[in-house]
């Protein structure tokens, strides 16, 4: 019993001592490494000074000194009520001591306290956990569909008229004994629309090789020309007709926008291609090309992700691939499980995102508070 009383008393004393220490240790100034950053920043915060409500009070001054330095150097001055400062000029790994002074007109500065901290970068940004979850979800969905496609599952992809019509367009050129014109726009080789256009070109070239129909590919960009020439050559080889490939069928025209348009229009009027493809990045030249092609009586299939050019293509061409349909073309035409699975996975992911958007909108309509809370789940700042 005696031993128990002694233990209890010890616990009480320890508790009281701890409380006293806490009261004493409650610092007026704190300095901490800024969280979820790449380093080089320290957050400094302080309690309001007792004199803050007085009329003469003018604000706070934050000073800093690195370890080993004697003098504090002013790094910032804040207005009354502004009780935090983010030092973004700190060096990683260097210990800094921060001192905050309260300033009042005609009075000596009062030191509120000091605090030390080292800046460092974090490996994981906890504020972006939601993004990580999103990435894992999308990746999992894509991988799931790729495996399904590889396993032989029939993945439904809605009919895209513009791509369904590729065979028909090439057939028309064959019956008419006329060439096919393939324009990949004004984008360079790093433009995603141009890359998509080049993959479609490979499929079209393979068909033209099979049908033994001439193909004309005038290029705006010399690098794009080199890539396309190789792709067309490869397509003819794969079709078993390497000798049918004409080196001059893929050629560089000019990098002047309207010079290029004039040249392509000239080809249309002289050669009268039965089928024109416009795939890739297009600007002001879209309508000029499409109108000239329509006048020559050609079937025209266009595809671009440039939203401003879509109305021109839709009205002047027979079929138009709009936005992402252009990117989906590779999967659609090739039916490769990898592309098909990716396409399907991305569609599902987009579907889920759209569902969240709708849910968020509904929540915001019925309860602003709930809607904002829901929106916070998707914030990635910090």
């Amino acid at each position: 019993m005696k031993r128990l009383s002694l233990a209890f008393a010890t616990l009480l004393l320890w508790g009281a001592a701890a409380c006293a220490a806490a009261e004493e240790a409650a610092p007026a100034v704190t300095a901490r490494d800024a969280p979820n950053d790449a380093g080089g920043a320290v957050n400094v915060a302080w309690e309001p000074a007792a004199a803050e409500k007085e009329a003469a009070f003018t604000g706070y001054e934050v000073q800093r000194r690195a370890s080993g330095e004697k003098e504090f150097v002013k790094v910032d001055r804040t207005a009354p009520g502004e009780l935090a400062f983010r030092d973004e000029e700190a060096e990683d790994g260097v210990e800094y001591e921060y001192r905050v002074q309260a300033l009042a007109a005609g009075e000596k500065a009062v030191v509120l306290g000091t605090a030390s901290a080292k800046a460092s970068g974090q490996w994981f940004n906890t504020a972006r956990t939601n993004a990580l979850i999103g990435v894992i979800f999308v990746t999992a969905v894509i991988v799931f569909f790729i495996y399904r496609a590889k396993g032989g599952a029939e993945l439904f992809v809605r009919k895209i008229a513009g791509l369904e019509a590729v065979d028909e367009a090439i057939g028309r050129a064959t019956e008419m004994g006329k060439p096919i014109l393939y324009v990949t726009g004004l984008g360079d080789a790093s433009d995603i629309a141009t890359i998509a256009a080049m993959t479609i070109l490979a499929k079209v070239a393979r068909k033209t090789a099979e049908y033994e129909t001439p193909l004309i590919v005038p290029c705006y960009d010399p690098i794009v020309m080199i890539v396309e020439k190789e792709m067309v050559k490869q397509a003819y080889t794969e079709a078993g007709k390497p000798d049918a490939f004409d080196e001059d069928s893929v050629f560089f025209v000019t990098q002047s926008q309207f010079g290029y348009v004039a040249a392509v229009d000239g080809i249309m009027l002289r050669e009268k291609p039965a089928t024109n493809f416009y795939m890739g990045a297009f600007y002001a030249e879209s309508l000029i090309l499409a109108e000239t092609g329509a006048e020559t009586g050609a079937i025209q299939i266009a595809g671009t992700d440039r939203v401003t050019q879509l109305p021109f293509f839709i009205t002047a061409c027979d079929y138009t691939l709009m936005g992402e349909e252009l990117y989906a073309a590779t999967a659609y035409l090739g039916r490769d499980p990898l592309f098909l699975g990716s396409l399907k996975g991305q569609d599902w992911a987009k579907g889920v995102i759209m569902a969240f958007l709708i849910l968020g909108t509904i929540l915001l309509i019925f309860s602003t508070d709930l809607g904002l809370r829901f929106a916070k789940l998707f914030e990635t700042a910090g």
Binding site: A165, G297, I314
Partner: protein, 608 residues
């Protein structure tokens, strides 16, 4: 003699197994069928003379009417007299009919047009050669040599279009050095209906090796099809080369007043005539033992397809192979436990090797009709694939087309606008109860909205077809009054709903029933008796989401026509989905059969 003065018409159809003769007589202002006779076809040994069968069939007509129709071993044509007939004509499908190969540059363009031209002329298309058909040249040559067609139709390129592709096809035909089926000493007839610029080269390539005939291009431009000249040439060559070589046909040709037509071409002719005169959209089907022919007229465009591997006797095993046993069994209203799968396969194969047998028990009849449903369905799928608009033509767009970019080459078949569905062939024409034929047609074709159903009573459409080429009024009168057995209208709302929900409300003053207000639930069928030639103006209210062609839930005021099967209300939904669960499926089938009174004992497996 003026055609308006013709009072008696004799027409024969020389089929592969039977020769059918009909005698048509003018009574007052109307032409009516008088009598029909038939006899075995005698194109093969021992007789090897088609006219023997013709005379036997006509002899039967002669006996039945007491009118002298034969004199000096030939049909007596004695214009305006009390004996003989004023005009005699015939069709023929004996010896396998007209068998053709067609060739074109692109399979879905000129090759498809060539196929339509040949099918429309009444041919069976044995193979379609195209530059892009994926076969190597030696495989194409081997196919031409192996199949030995009666003639080849070569097309390709628009006028002024490709030359190299069509010449390449001509070279393949030349290299195959093909021989015709009939007439060992004759050259194979080849009709060239392609790019006119290529004609001299084609003549140089094929002129000496084949019997070459040049006609206008079937696709002078891609936007237009010009099938007439090629079809006419096919008919001419059918007479000159195929018929003239077949045993007895030269004699038969000398008797007829108009050229002998291939049987399917004649059926197509009467279907076209009816569609034109009535402004109908119509489908005709002839389900035979070896083949199933489908004819259609939609948007005033005639199409015919032959499913050469779908039939009810010689080809019945192909139906089993193509449809699969589960798809056939799904129409049988007994549990699988009552059906021995092996026994069923044996029955089907027995029908193939004994094609003239007919079902002896109710079970056999139910199974045969289940197979017929699948044969009709499969043949119709093939028909829809060929009855399409022209492909590869330039389109005009507006901004409103952004999300509805329709393609060229869509099927012309639209079941919502179909007015009439006519069935023919033993399985349909000789079904023990007419309502069985009606249900086979409904299950096979799945008509939508309001469609009139009929069957050919004694398969006289071929004779009426050849008659329609010279006397369309007479052909139409006999077709409507004597040829068709009117089954009645079928009302089928489009869409699917929840089990037990009301699908259709019917309001009408019904003969013999007074004011009728009926409701039919989704998943059910109903029948209201309405005699032949009786008509009812009905208000049909489909309940949302069902549609009778005017929009979901929109009322349709329609005139329903009666027939031997009455008016059938098919509320099973479109597309038609049979229950997957076996118990539910059998239960549903039995309900439908009972509602329409299709089989005695409502389709139980007891022998009839």
């Amino acid at each position: 003699m003026e055609l308006s003065d013709v009072k008696t018409i004799l027409a024969t159809d020389c089929g592969s197994t039977t020769t059918k003769a009909i005698l048509i007589k003018k009574e007052g202002d109307e032409y009516r069928l008088q009598v029909r006779g038939e006899a075995p076809t005698t194109v093969e040994k021992p007789a090897e003379d088609v006219t023997r069968g013709v005379l036997n069939a006509v002899g039967e007509v002669e006996e039945l009417t007491g009118r002298k129709l034969i004199a000096d071993h030939k049909v007596l044509v004695a214009e305006g007299k009390d004996e003989g007939v004023d005009i005699y004509m015939s069709t023929s499908s004996a010896g396998g009919g007209l068998q053709m190969m067609v060739a074109g540059v692109v399979k879905t363009m000129t090759a498809e047009s060539a196929q339509r031209a040949a099918l429309g002329a009444g041919a069976i298309v044995m193979d379609v050669l195209a530059s892009n058909d994926g076969r190597l040249p030696h495989q194409k040559i081997e196919a031409i040599r192996r199949l030995r067609p009666d003639m080849i139709l070569l097309s390709g390129g628009i006028d002024g279009g490709t030359i190299s592709h069509v010449v390449e096809l001509a070279e393949l035909i030349g290299a195959a050095d093909p021989r015709p089926r009939f007439g060992a000493g004759f050259q194979l007839p080849v009709i060239y209906a392609g790019n006119k610029v290529a004609r001299p080269i084609i003549e140089g390539t094929l002129g000496e090796k084949t019997s070459l005939y040049v006609v206008d291009n079937i696709r002078p431009v891609l936007e237009r099809e010009n099938l007439g000249p090629a079809r006419n040439e096919i008919h001419n060559l059918f007479m000159e080369h195929v018929m003239a070589q077949a045993p007895g046909y030269s004699k038969l040709m000398s008797w007829t007043a108009v050229p002998i037509m291939p049987t399917p071409a004649a059926v197509g002719a009467i279907i076209q005539t009816i569609a034109e005169r009535e402004g109908f959209e119509v489908i005709g089907v002839d389900i035979g033992g070896a083949t199933t022919d489908i004819f259609s007229v939609f948007q005033k465009v005639f199409n015919r397809t032959v499913s050469a591997n779908l039939g009810m006797s010689y080809s019945i095993s192909n139906v089993l192979a193509e449809a699969g046993l589960p798809d056939i069994i799904r129409w049988v209203p007994f549990p699988k436990s009552q059906l021995d799968e092996r026994d069923l396969r044996d029955r089907i194969r027995n029908k193939m090797i004994r094609p003239t047998t007919i079902p002896q028990t109710l079970t056999e009849l139910v199974i045969e009709q289940a197979i017929a449903r699948e044969a009709l369905r499969l043949a119709f799928v093939q028909h829809k694939e060929l009855a399409v608009g022209l492909k590869g033509i330039q389109q005009e767009r507006t901004i409103s087309d952004a999300f509805t970019q329709t393609m060229t080459g869509e099927t012309l078949v639209n079941m919502l606008t179909l007015d009439m569905l006519v069935g023919s062939g033993g399985t349909l024409s000789h079904a023990p109860r007419r309502v069985q034929a009606a249900l086979m047609l409904i299950d096979g074709f799945r008509p939508e909205a309001v469609t009139f159903l009929a069957v050919d009573s004694i398969f006289m459409m071929p004779q009426l077809g050849v008659l329609s080429t010279v006397m369309p009024d007479a052909a139409t009168q006999v077709f409507e009054r004597d040829c068709l057995v009117r089954l009645g209208s079928c009302v089928a709302p489009v869409g699917n709903g929840k089990k037990g929900q009301t699908c259709l409300k019917i309001t009408a003053d019904w003969p013999g029933r007074g004011h009728v207000e009926e409701e039919v639930k989704y998943g059910e069928m109903a029948r209201l008796p309405l005699a032949v030639d009786e008509r009812v103006k009905a208000r049909l209210d489909p309940v949302r989401p069902f549609d009778l062609g005017h929009g979901k839930g929109q009322t349709l005021e329609a005139e329903l026509e009666g027939g031997v099967a009455g008016v059938i209300f098919d509320c099973r939904g479109r597309p038609l989905n049979l229950p997957q669960d076996e118990t539910a499926r059998v239960d549903a089938l039995q309900r439908w059969l009972a509602a329409l009174d299709v089989y005695p004992n409502h389709g139980s497996s007891e022998a009839a």
